[in-house]
Symmetry: D2
Subunit: 434 residues, 4 copies
């Protein structure tokens, strides 16, 4: 496939682009230059690197091919800030990104401005649909890095015993609504993006295509994500000490790493705290549990006598729902207590929801042509799909067909769990589901 | 689920069991006591350990619970030869199995005889369906270890520059039949084991259940596995040097391990050889290529402009086919050249066929109760499904619904590749497929 | 032993202290806040950490015990900036020092000022000899960290393909003087610091004591360190490919790391460059070779048909020599070409000289009492002694008895090689040596 | 140097050789073929490999160069059984020696016989002094491997929870004599082997030469090695939990490996046992403590307020003493309780004694020429010297000047500790020392 030809009017596209570019810098406003270089493990990147790499993306895929005579500020940046595009060339080693103190923050910001001006200039002239699609891809790409910038920062800060505060915390009182079950009859369903009916402005990634049919047996989904309180009950019931609850690889992970609680939690002697972007603070048991990996989500579901949903089930349930929830636009950077109400809550935002589905190509999948074809397709192995977005995702970045994916052992995303269960076919009278 | 109640007549069951037990020892006949302890990496086990562990399985799951007053020869063997059953207890560390020079081979053989006699005695009396099912599970389990015994041995021997010969080689002349494409219309298909129509004697593992529906788009399968010659063309076309052909994890594996050819191959200066259980000998380009891992199979398929089949496609195609091919019963221990003929050849036997499917539970899957429930279910993460069996598998161990699974980086099984492709729905006129 | 009671007049001590404290900050002047956090491997520390740790040293060992009611700026810094003093308490993990973006540079500088003021106040009152000795230890300690700050920075910067320049390079023309041999008769010699004749102002570390006798056979020392040109001849003669020249551990290191030249060198296609604190520039073959580890120094000496000197030989030769050479005070940060002249040149400064002596206690050695006893003694295993100081050492930090020590595989110090050879006893007529 | 021209009469040499060769096989008599392949870590080798490598040594260094037309049984063995002689060629990877199930034990024994016959034939003719010296070196080499065969076997067997017995244990009652101190005045002493006065039949390794002078300050040595009871007191006093007692590298080793007692010890709930070649049995507190590494020996000495002796001190004290103690000839394979008596006991045999000396070349050291020069010299880095031999050493392999060496973290040799202390020079009246 090629990326959908976004039909935004040209000046809408330019203003969306520049607003989004500015938002990346806004997110860095509370950070010191010292913070801008932090990298606590190979999977995370320094904030400054995120600012640079997203700029690299526009320079490499848009300015160089589309602006005759475009002069990069420094040709060496092509190598330094290439993440993983072998089609572009070699890459600076990922685990060493924290060693790039130069270009410093000021230089990176100047580069951003240089690129933004060139982009604005380019978009002020005639924009082909292909170019518009690439710009839109660049915007979505930068939104993903905005989310990573926050989750990487949280991971990095958590290694500092001073537990830095990114922004003050606003407390949230109250309790989560009781969990209920929403039933779905299944049958032959269609999922994925890109059918004829999709709006011409809509954007989606190649990995969401083609839209295709799947057979679903009857199932039910929990009305909301699991809470910290529910997860604490799992811990207190010896959940981390009972191998029968765990996948074999999960049990090995737990044993080798000596894990006994979610990432960022501190439990001892009655104390129950966690590290948040507001610093270290008491656990709020009504909040959705987050920073679980797949193994933990799966073990918790088994302990509940339930299971994780498949991505097909999830998308089928979410397809008709509005994209509402807690997003990065809220500037809260932490999942909120589920609101009361009917139907599934927090399908979107707050916490990513691990599914039981491996990240694999849809039937008939073709990656986008050229180097941007490396964006998604080459990762279709060893990872699990998450759905719905988190408190660090942009609302307009998300949709029902959106597929996120991470290795099952990773915990630094805002990843939580929504329970599912299979229903007897004969009972499949969808009661509360829309 | 509980395991199907095998309805073999009791004396058939006993004689099948004892013949199968004897076959394990027959496979060890060409080995020295020194060979019996080899373990070249944590994933493989020494031959002696296989003989002991399969005996442990019968003692633990059948004799101890079903024979009042049963006296094990040595109670410490429960710990030493438990592979991964946390429900039974702690396990001796897997990477150290080669350090168990005691019990020596003679002691293990005496233990086998002790257990066989107790089993024969038990089965000479009234056998409940549940017990018969467990015995059948033990037989199938031992068949799996017979296959591993051979593949592990090949891996171990390959580390010895003397390239030991397990048995002499019989040469096979001729060429492979031209590859053709068998088309399948897809639609709503049913796969898995255990429906009402299955014969009461039939055996299947819990991971093949429940039998369930899946939707398939039209597809085509290659008429035979890819050959060494076809794979050599991939190598000579720079297949191992072109990142665009590889999954990201596969490219990382290739780069870190500096891999440039299948396991056991030697290519240089015009020389093309490989290590086999008959020692080191020239490559026969007409034979199916084997000892590929998932990354290599996937990259080769992409180079061909094709893809790997899903396990649903594979099973749908194989369901109506007889289980014919090269199996361990042939005592050849090497894949044979595909025979001429119509329809898919070598679906069964010769080489396992990597599928594009992650090893995950079927909808509604329930592991068998008790410790034997650890047999399959807990491995449903991070592995890929292989189908069809190999030259080291027992013919009566295989069936269309059989699911094998390995991590994508592993190569020491007889694992090969059958190409697949998606068809336009409108063209889906199943020509040659049955 | 306790540290020698430095008899500096109190105001000399205070002014020396404050000048030295200021020099640490001066060294950081060319650095950005981003540079201040760099740490490319566990052995090196970020510049900001060096500024903080040296402050911690004064706060921990001087202010807290000697200033009643002293209030640290932040009590958590005790843990964060403890390097390895188990007697003080637990330490923040060394490999993670780069993750301490907070306290930021401004906060560390404010802490320095706070501590400096408290020290100045303390020293403005009556100073006991014990306190003066501790202050002097703190000054020497900070000098060591000034050297590390530079060598660590060079190592960190070298990972950046932009090859940052710390300060511009001043070129040095000319050639090194021809190497000649200085002979020493040996016999019963005395080495070490701390005899009755040492001046009351003199400082030395506990590891230089007690002053003691050693027997020396006749030997000769090269008149200057080996040059880049001499080392290049070793490389071009296949020095890195000939196992007979190497210690077994050295050959293993070379093979595993695939080393073929000194750290920071780039040799290919006639190009001969190295990274320096002035950026990447052409090798000057007349300069002393540096950034060798012990294995390389030893292999080079063997290739020359010579050996490394022992530390006893070195100290015996150096004892009567003035401390002249290239030091950090020059602000050149790179070894200079050896000057012409008689006698041994560059014994002090320019490059540390690997000796053939393991770092072990002298006969009768007693570490200093209390936590500062961890300063030197506990490292007396697995390291080799270097002598003489480098272009990054302070001149007044050095003396003939000074013992530096590093693991034999490490290369990031300015470490070079001075050849030695044994002489026949009968020939031992010390010709040119003083 | 070249190896001393052993002046054994030719038939003495041949009979000594053949008796020694036979002893290697005798040591393997209690082992099964399965035991013959055990290798639990890279540092140890399988018994079969020891039998083969010692044969390789004679074939490579004696038969091939000295017997025209000599035909090896299998030319591939040159590669398989070369330990570390780069001068001979590449080596099969050391960590994989356990994978060489072929050649099997019978083949190795046949090879031994082939080589022994060729040696006997060679020695039945005129033997040059150079050849005699090489044969003697081969004998000493095989004695070293006999010791390793036993210590490696103990290490390997200890990984088997069945705790195999190599031979039954003979109990030893009684207590160790009280520890007293033997004083030595020091001064200018001479150590090392190879002076004019050494008997023409005497053998020594190149690393013991040249005989040379050293200056010694007054010191005292403990009258016997430390006992298990004394070491238990160190443990019970928190010895493994007190960083101030440990070298920095030792504390890191202890912490990473979570060590709390000597190798092979089991301490819990009042139980005090250890694994021996007689199986698992109660600790005998009167026996010398053994299987300590350098870090443990050093920490124990520091806890005692003492230190380890240097190798010069040790050799000076041992030079005039007879080589008496517990050796491999006793076939006891375990250190014995120190006998009562005057003077230093168990200087030789029972347990190797860690010294405070790094393994470095003596002044003027020259390795033997040719590939046998790799025997000792290339290991002169990172290791510490042990003196005196153990219960697994041959008595006629030992002498006062003998230097053994191991890395400081290794524990699988029979290595113990004899305390030393420095004496005030004025008090140095050697009271009880001979």
């Amino acid at each position: 496939m090629s990326y959908p030809q976004a039909r935004l009017r040209e000046d809408d596209l330019a203003s969306t682009l520049l607003a989004n570019r500015a938002f990346s810098e806004t997110l860095c406003a509370p950070l010191t230059p010292e913070d801008m270089g932090l990298q606590a493990c190979p999977e995370v990147s320094p904030p400054r690197w995120h600012l640079a790499h997203t700029t690299w993306f526009f320079e490499t895929f848009i300015l160089k091919p589309h602006v005759p005579g475009y002069r990069p500020i420094d040709p060496r940046f092509e190598y330094l800030f290439n993440s993983y595009y072998n089609g572009v060339g070699e890459q600076y080693p990922r685990p060493q990104r924290h060693l790039l103190s130069r270009p410093d923050t000021a230089t990176v910001l100047a580069w951003r401005q240089h690129v933004d001006e060139a982009l604005a200039d380019l978009l002020s002239r005639s924009v082909t649909p292909e170019l518009a699609a690439l710009v839109r891809l660049g915007i979505e790409h930068e939104q993903q890095h905005q989310e990573l910038l926050l989750t990487d920062l949280k991971f990095n800060f958590s290694h500092n015993p001073l537990y830095p505060q990114y922004q003050p915390h606003e407390d949230q009182a109250g309790s989560a609504p009781a969990l209920s079950w929403l039933e779905y009859a299944g049958g032959l369903v269609t999922i994925g993006a890109g059918d004829a009916s999709s709006s011409p402005e809509s954007f989606y990634f190649d990995n969401e295509t083609p839209r295709h049919r799947q057979w679903l047996e009857p199932f039910a989904l929990a009305s909301r994500p699991a809470t910290c309180g529910e997860y604490l009950a799992f811990i207190e019931d010896g959940g981390y000490q009972r191998p029968e609850l765990w996948l074999s690889d999960g049990w090995a992970w737990r044993s080798q790493q000596q894990v006994a609680m979610p990432l960022y939690w501190f439990l001892n002697d009655g104390l129950a705290e966690h590290y948040t972007l507001a610093g270290r603070r008491p656990l709020n048991l009504a909040e959705p549990v987050t920073h679980l990996n797949y193994y933990e989500a799966d073990a918790f579901a088994r302990w509940c006598g339930k299971r994780l949903p498949t991505e097909v089930e999830w998308e089928h349930a979410a397809a008709a729902r509005p994209v509402t929830g807690g997003f990065v636009e809220n500037r809260r950077y932490h999942p909120a207590i589920a609101p009361p109400g009917e139907g599934p809550r927090q399908l979107f935002g707050d916490v990513w929801e691990w599914t039981a589905s491996a990240y694999l190509p849809y039937p008939g999948f073709q990656p986008a042509p050229g180097a941007v074809g490396e964006y998604n397709g080459k990762f279709m192995c060893n990872q699990m799909v998450l759905r719905g977005g988190s408190c660090a995702s942009s609302r307009d970045h998300l949709r029902a067909s959106y597929r996120n994916f991470f290795y099952p052992h990773l915990r630094w995303q805002f990843s939580g769990v929504r329970l599912a269960q299979s229903m007897e076919a004969c009972d499949a009278t969808p009661a509360t589901a829309p």
